[in-house]
Symmetry: C2
DNA sequence: TCGGCGCTCGTACGGTGTTCGAGGAACCTA
DNA sequence: TAGGTTCCTCGAACACCGTACGAGCGCCGA
């Protein structure tokens, strides 16, 4: 997988999908949907072009008529699941509610398809669904009072946070046995954590005071907390700027 | 690469490194350092066990005596570069300055080794260097007035943001031809962006007003902006809580 | 009826991570 | 000094992977 093949230049989004006449057995959307099925079942490493062909009841390399490369398929897949996120219309609610909904929507999509966490770093998201989301986000932020580069900054702040926390959560999920809860895993790791944290003063002290906590649901709460702080920070900036000079 | 091999249970950090007697030709640290060299030169996809063996002037599979699996090697590599980050001592400065330094330190490490962005999702960071960083962070946040779960929330907020924005930046860097600046790439993409953004009302409007911006250095500024907002949000929360009930 | 085109897919190439086991070199013990 | 044991190296092989290529199929317009 060259993966840096065709940097810039022609991308999936500029080239029209193949197949216009006849009645082909496969289609781009069918391929993408089947790929997502496979990914949901077996994760990122479980998707190979051969397996995809098998599941499509087609030859191992048949998908290559519709898709130039595996990376390109993943790009399409990423945009497809981005389409699952519902973003509130601009003006439907205040900007805080809209941003909160967007953040939680993105997060729950990632929890539904944990493998996407590994896809964000591959290519910038330029597909139609990602664009639709950006569009709404820009609308919401502009209406809130951001302008110029601030819009890009604020929107990138929101996205970055969700993607980052999803990445870290995915790392956790990966390292625990499937079917085991986070709590049970922490329980098994406890001796190691005890041993290690005793060597680090601050961490150790914190751990001793908080070892009784229940780790399940902690990610969720932490995410909600973070979104609130983050929006507070943005709101504060808006307030300060308005007070200083209302343009 | 099973990659889910040995979920939990024994990890690199619990098992002592091999080789105690004799004078072996290789060593864990040498392998890790050479791997980083290779990664810096050719990126994540450029590192294969065979190439690593070659560069070590050793057999293709010799490294497997010191490292159980490629994933494990990557875990060691990740922790090694985490060691490059210098974190201010607790109490050396106020917590805002410390957190800012930590965020920028982590970010510049990632810019130095862009391939790490693809490693954060693999396993939770539990190596000694990552732990040292967490330790400092916990110390700083506790001194600032956070306690209990808030510490974990706030620290995860900081880390998530840096990792998320690094991931997105890596995606961008990957899609542009090597040696080309961001500005030049945007220039080449301009017709496509123009065409696309015209179909999205808010995004299009924003783009028309801001198409003249200089994209180089924008990431840097956006990052600094985000860190400020984020710390503002945390500070505000501390203030509010203190006012409500000073424990 | 006959090209030509859209589409499928078997085969093959050059990689990948990892297992296995034969072998060598250095050490401890007798 | 001899023998045995343990540590370490590495060539060969296995089961995969992404992808190029081109032969061949069936439908369509002429």
């Amino acid at each position: 997988m060259p993966s840096n093949a065709d940097p810039l230049g022609q991308s999936v989004w500029t080239r029209p999908p193949r197949s216009r006449g006849a009645q082909p057995a496969l289609s781009r959307t069918q391929i993408v949907r089947t790929a997502i099925e496979l990914l949901d079942e077996k994760g990122l490493e479980g998707l190979s072009m051969r397996r995809l062909g098998e599941r499509l009841a087609a030859g191992a390399t048949s998908a290559y008529w519709y898709v130039a490369t595996k990376d390109e398929l993943l790009e399409l897949v990423l945009d497809e699941v981005m389409g699952e996120i519902e973003v509130p219309e601009v003006g439907a609610t205040d900007w805080r509610a809209a941003a909160t909904a967007l953040a939680h929507g993105l997060r729950s999509m990632i929890l539904r398809h944990p493998w996407v966490a590994g896809l964000f770093g591959v290519r910038p998201m330029m597909g139609p669904n990602a664009m639709r989301m950006s569009d709404r986000m820009v609308g919401v932020l502009t209406a809130a009072g951001f302008s110029g580069l601030d819009v890009a900054y604020a929107s990138s702040l929101l996205m970055s946070h969700v993607i980052g926390s999803a990445t870290m959560e995915a790392a956790w999920k990966r390292s625990i046995a499937p079917g085991m809860s986070v709590g049970e895993s922490v329980e098994k790791l406890r001796p190691y954590i005890d041993e290690v944290s005793s060597r680090y003063p601050h961490y150790g002290a914190w751990w001793r005071e908080n070892r009784a906590m229940d780790p399940d649901g902690l990610q969720e709460e932490g995410f909600a907390f973070a979104v609130e702080r983050l929006l507070d920070g943005l709101q504060l900036w808006l307030d300060r700027r308005e007070k200083a000079g209302p343009a």
